[in-house]
């Protein structure tokens, strides 16, 4: 079987950090699906392996490539890190391995500069929590920011475009929740601030 790969086809890697119940894993899957729809042949989406608990820190990963993805080990040097809960930034493993030209996307009311982070990566912030509160995107008392934060991700990195994302949201979500999720994505896209 001729299954070739080359280093130039190293997949783009996104690592997601959130708390159990926030939907980080779903976000990882939505971006994988959107990238596939955009024509990337190789996509994978995985949760952090093992037991997960509501409220506890969780992570997930997405890999995107023009070729089928052969790498199955844990993400080590992500190009993009998405943080659904800014209180997780106190843990050093959240930004670990994020390179010079990488992007850190954070759900936070603060501006990139105000986060006061050390590192040479680019930063994008948006108050996705407020967007979702205003839209009442709340399930069982929990503000669901996982779709909203995708707006910030798309704005900063252009990894996929909003119409592609919209298609996936329409496929995945029930008719009654599509509009509110799309509104959350669009609003967060608008208010995203970028910097270093």
């Amino acid at each position: 079987m001729a299954q070739k790969s080359s280093l130039s086809n190293r997949p783009l890697e996104i690592r997601w950090h959130g708390r159990g119940g926030q939907g980080a894993i779903t976000a990882a899957k939505i971006i994988a699906q959107a990238a596939y729809l955009k024509g990337y042949k190789g996509v994978t989406a995985a949760p952090s392996f093992g037991a997960e608990r509501r409220g506890a820190p969780v992570s997930a990963s997405t890999r995107i490539s023009t070729e089928p993805v052969l790498v199955v080990s844990q993400v080590e040097n992500p190009e993009i890190v998405v943080v659904l809960d800014h209180t997780l930034l106190k843990y050093p493993d959240v930004t670990h391995g994020l390179g010079k030209n990488g992007w850190l996307i954070v759900n936070s009311p603060l501006s990139p500069r105000e986060l006061g982070l050390k590192g040479e990566f680019n930063i994008a912030t948006a108050d996705a929590t407020k967007v979702c509160q205003d839209l009442e995107l709340i399930v069982a008392g929990l503000v669901i920011v996982n779709t909203a934060i995708l707006g910030a991700l798309v704005r900063a990195t252009k990894i996929v475009d909003l119409p592609t994302l919209e298609k996936i949201i329409r496929e995945r979500f029930s008719r009654s929740t599509v509009d509110i999720n799309l509104a959350a994505i669009n609003k967060t896209y608008e208010i995203t601030k970028t910097g270093k």
């Binding site: 079987m1 790969s5 989406a45 093992g50 052969l70 790498v71 199955v72 080990s73």
Partner: protein, 406 residues
């Protein structure tokens, strides 16, 4: 001529791929223990049954031992049976695994490879299925979710032709919980590929028979006056069935390609072995990561190929020898350990090479136990270490090295 096929790509995890494959294989009985160490695979199947998408009897049993007992009984009265388990569940099934193979029943089992305690660990390695190596089951390992889907469908073809149960093994979490694109076949094509199950013997009260009754060592005259096999002859026939199953496995892979356009006429996967002086051997998803490692080594001018083991039982000795004929060094990575000896696939490779003209050095590394992450760059480092070791001795060491922090 290329046949135009409708592509139905879904981005799904390994468990979903396995569940859809079992559904499309039109399994008639699913028996499974629903709690830890089970995976969402059987949840998905029970949903299919509940929603009427799969016309099967779903038996939620109280243990994995019972799950295999139900599959055995179902198979013996003519039903296509499926189960899935992992880790301790497979260990608990051990006795009935022997029974299913001894009774020559074409059951298919999805083994989601996970570590065995003590200590408790729910993560990936292949110790569970390797520990069942000698139960008389065919074992096939998958590298990705497409292979999970395709192999389960092929497994019924193989099992029902050679009357040997098939264990389809795939890495826990690394594949079972990771989503990737999978081309889902058309039901009509699966039906064309996989005709309904016709049992070689079926128990029916209308036509009473003895089956698997106490069978002593020597052949003796049965109630019908005919000479019956003794225990040992029956055991020989099981061994013979596995020995001869290679052709059926390859044929099932070839015909799968004819219908679905994906070639499985392979006992193992090869990547750039043609001019390789060094071959990396791995099984399961690690065999994909190994291709990335080979890329990295080739960029440094080291001629490396990959042999990704697919069919572990029957072990394809002659094919392996043919594939390794140019190798000077074989580096075998095992996600299992036969304590006091070495990794199980390394033993197989060494055994296959014995008495051939190939005089390659073999180095064995134990990796990834209990979900320990193993990266392409670590495979590269280990391979370089193996190359360096040749300066000291070409003789194969007695014991493997471990990639861990001791």
């Amino acid at each position: 001529m290329a046949i135009q096929r409708k592509s139905n790509m879904l981005i799904i995890d390994g468990n979903q791929a396995a569940a859809i494959a079992a559904k499309m294989s039109r399994v008639q009985v699913v028996a499974a223990y629903p709690i830890t160490p089970q995976t969402p695979l059987t949840e998905q199947l029970s949903l299919f049954v509940e929603q009427g998408e799969l016309k099967a009897e779903y038996v939620a049993v109280e243990s994995e031992h019972s799950a295999m007992a139900v599959c055995t009984s179902a198979s013996i009265v003519g039903a296509r049976a499926f189960t899935a388990t992992s880790s301790h569940g497979l260990a608990y099934m051990h006795e009935m695994l022997h029974w299913a193979a001894g009774a020559r029943l074409p059951i298919v089992l999805a083994c989601v490879n996970r570590a065995i305690g003590a200590p408790w660990n729910v993560l990936n390695d292949q110790q569970d299925s390797i520990s069942q190596r000698d139960t008389g089951w065919i074992q096939i390992y998958c590298r990705n979710n497409q292979e999970i889907m395709d192999t389960i469908i092929q497994a019924y073809r193989i099992a029902e032709q050679v009357h040997v149960p098939v264990m389809v093994c795939y890495d826990g979490y690394i594949l079972s919980h990771t989503e990737m694109p999978v081309d889902v076949p058309e039901q009509a094509d699966v039906d064309r590929y996989l005709p309904p199950y016709k049992p070689h013997t079926s128990l029916d009260p209308a036509d009473p028979k003895n089956y698997n009754l106490v069978t002593l060592a020597n052949p003796r005259i049965g109630v019908d006056g005919k000479l019956c096999h003794g225990y040992m002859e029956l055991r020989y026939l099981l061994q013979e069935a596995l020995q001869n199953s290679r052709e059926t496995i390859l044929q099932a892979g070839r015909e799968f390609n004819d219908i679905f356009g994906r070639d499985y006429e392979h006992m193992f996967w090869e990547d750039r072995n043609d001019d390789a002086e060094i071959t990396i051997v791995a099984m399961g998803s690690l065999a994909m990561e190994a291709i990335v490692a080979a890329d990295m080594l080739r960029e440094e001018g080291i001629k490396v190929g990959v042999l990704g083991l697919r069919v572990f039982r029957p072990f394809p000795k002659s094919d392996v020898v043919q594939a390794l004929r140019k190798s000077k060094l074989i580096v075998v990575f095992d996600k299992n350990i036969s304590y006091g000896s070495e990794g199980a696939t390394c033993s197989e490779i060494k055994s296959a090479l014995y008495g051939t003209y190939i005089n390659a050095s073999v180095r064995n590394f134990i990796v990834g136990l209990g979900g320990r992450d193993i990266k392409a760059r670590e495979l590269v480092e280990a391979t370089k270490k193996a190359i360096a070791s040749l300066k000291e001795t070409v003789i194969n060491p007695d014991y493997p090295e471990w990639i861990c922090q001791i």
